[in-house]
């Protein structure tokens, strides 16, 4: 069944894949060995979260998992750990914005910060339990702060360049309906 709604959804999926693809390629570029003070913020997380707050019904969980597994492989992270943790965070945020409606900007910032901090610490905890060598805690905290600071820019880019915006009020009905497609 091809209708307008469907095409629009697919446009969103492709947009999401493209943006994640570009972020990953930028991170892979071999030029920043020397500039070690530049820490990459967790851009994939920020993009996904901002997306879920704005268009909770236009980002299937399979797509998110796909991107995260790829990024785990490419960025030499423990396979699957961050994917599993962040997936739970994402679904919480999706549920929150589907059931309670649009978040205010302040609420959004607070919620996202809390989720990211929680997930990061759970990750450190699990890495400690499984005796995986995690990077120095100072660096993790630095990256965390950096991620939180850069979030407004991510929102701006999503809103104005990629045109991923909050849905209109009237869309709430279709939101519930399209939940089945996810």
């Amino acid at each position: 069944m091809i209708n307008f709604q469907n095409i629009q959804s697919w446009a969103y999926y492709i947009k999401y894949l493209m943006i994640c693809f570009i972020i990953l390629s930028l991170q892979l570029l071999p030029m920043k060995i020397v500039h070690q003070e530049v820490l990459w913020p967790n851009l994939i997380y920020l993009i996904t979260v901002a997306w879920l707050v704005r268009k909770p019904s236009h980002l299937p969980v399979i797509l998110i998992l796909f991107v995260h597994i790829i990024s785990d492989i490419l960025l030499l992270m423990p396979l699957g750990l961050w994917s599993a943790l962040s997936l739970m965070g994402y679904e919480f945020l999706r549920w929150r914005s589907l059931s309670q409606g649009r978040l205010k900007l302040g609420q959004e910032l607070l919620l996202i910060n809390i989720v990211l901090i929680l997930l990061t610490f759970v990750q450190i905890g699990i890495e400690f339990i499984f005796k995986i060598k995690s990077p120095p805690i100072g660096m993790i905290l630095l990256q965390l702060t950096f991620s939180l600071l850069i979030y407004p820019i991510v929102i701006f880019v999503l809103h104005s360049i990629l045109r991923v915006r909050h849905s209109e009020r009237s869309e709430t009905v279709t939101r519930v309906k399209s939940m089945e497609n996810i």
Partner: protein, 288 residues
């Protein structure tokens, strides 16, 4: 209305189950990775083999762009560099004479003593494709792999000194863990004292030296070379020079140019790798 609600409930339950399954799947992957790490890393290398070419269309242009900007930056420093190089050249001429004299003398002495020199080291040169992408892991991907005969653990050098070691070999690419990575441990020898020590990566560009005793004999400026202990790396590959940091801790200033890693050489080493044997009977291991 009632029907509709029931349908919604259905959808929600199926959704929750799907999400739970996916989260479980990810955790399961993680556990597998943890249990059989070497195999998982091999799978990762195989996946990278397939994935990296897909990124090439965007990595290529970006790489070109970055090299252009680097080129522009280097023009401004060119004049200064030129002057310095002239000065250095003056000094080097003297050194060259001395080196030639010593080389002659050395070969004569070796001949006198009937010393058998190591078979010459052979190189395979590769191009750096990408780096690890995360700030916590210091590694690179090279465009040569098992197909070109690369083996796990071989030393990787640039034109001036040791850069890292091969850790993870795919069919067409291999991963180089740099000396500055926090998992890197390299047995080294400090010359002229001949003191053995360990070079421990800590994510900084000047990795510290772990030394057991007699620190007094080590001075800043001493040459640091690989010791060849553990038979993994070849011996006497230049690593860098000893310096002292603000806390009087010994560190190594690496000679490899980490700012411009583009072409790297992998040194073929004749190592006895137990993972190659895999249960076969070894009939004749000696070659001479």
């Amino acid at each position: 209305m009632n029907e509709r609600k029931r349908k919604d409930d259905y959808g929600r339950i199926i959704r929750s189950i799907t999400i739970a399954l996916l989260v479980f799947f990810s955790f399961f992957t993680f556990i597998l990775w943890k249990i059989d790490n070497p195999r998982a890393e091999r799978v990762r290398m195989a996946a990278l083999d397939k994935l990296i070419p897909n990124f090439e269309w965007i990595l290529g242009p970006l790489r070109g762009l970055s090299s252009v900007s680097e080129g522009i930056g280097s023009y401004s420093t060119l004049v200064k560099e030129n002057r310095e190089l002239r000065l250095k050249l003056q000094k080097m001429r003297n050194w060259r004479e001395a080196a030639i004299r010593l080389e002659e003398e050395n070969s004569q002495l070796l001949d006198l003593n009937n010393v058998r020199v190591n078979p010459s080291l052979k190189y395979i040169t590769g191009l750096v494709l990408s780096d690890s992408g995360s700030s916590f892991r210091r590694s690179l991907l090279l465009n040569i792999g098992a197909f070109d005969g690369i083996k796990e653990g071989w030393a990787v050098v640039d034109s001036s000194g040791l850069v890292g070691r091969i850790f993870g070999v795919g069919e067409k690419l291999s991963r180089v863990v740099l000396l500055i990575d926090s998992s890197s441990r390299i047995p080294i020898k400090i010359e002229p004292s001949g003191k053995k020590a360990l070079l421990v990566g800590d994510n900084s560009l000047r990795p510290p030296i772990e030394i057991v005793e007699n620190i007094e004999v080590v001075r800043s400026g001493d040459r640091v070379v690989t010791s060849g202990d553990g038979k993994i790396l070849p011996s006497d590959v230049l690593v860098g020079h000893v310096i002292r940091d603000a806390d009087q801790r010994l560190r190594v200033k690496l000679v490899a140019n980490y700012g411009r890693l583009k072409f790297l050489k992998v040194i073929k080493t004749q190592t006895f790798d137990s993972s190659d044997v895999q249960g076969e009977v070894i009939i004749n291991t000696g070659t001479d």
